[in-house]
Symmetry: C2
């Protein structure tokens, strides 16, 4: 389970980074994104799009996104 | 939710998001970035630049970055 990642416990390292991911949204749907570490993509489930992180730079362009099945 | 797919430390909440931030680098220096939640900026200390997150979209362009003192 992943509930512990949602905590705001100030002693629980990771809150900072959680808010970083939560601050990002899909340019098309404005829904929150999920991070795929293996593929280095930011996933918009609502839009069925995966935005690439190329060389450490997130590319938040619909035209550059991969369509998910 | 799919976060569990990316976690390597089942006891360490926040690992998922931590690695997300760690995956991002400054386009100029390729050094890691820090996240300023209040200003909604990604900070490159090495380059003295702050990249804006506008409406949830990170803008990783040197020309758009704010110069830090």
């Amino acid at each position: 389970m992943t509930e512990t990642e949602d905590r705001e416990d100030p002693a629980g390292g990771g809150t900072f980074d959680r808010r970083m991911l939560e601050a990002l949204v899909c340019p098309q749907t404005h829904a929150p994104l999920a991070y795929d570490a293996e593929r280095q993509e930011l996933i918009s489930k609502a839009a069925h799009l995966a935005y690439p992180i190329r060389g450490g730079i997130p590319v938040m362009l619909i035209d550059e996104a991969r369509h998910l099945d």
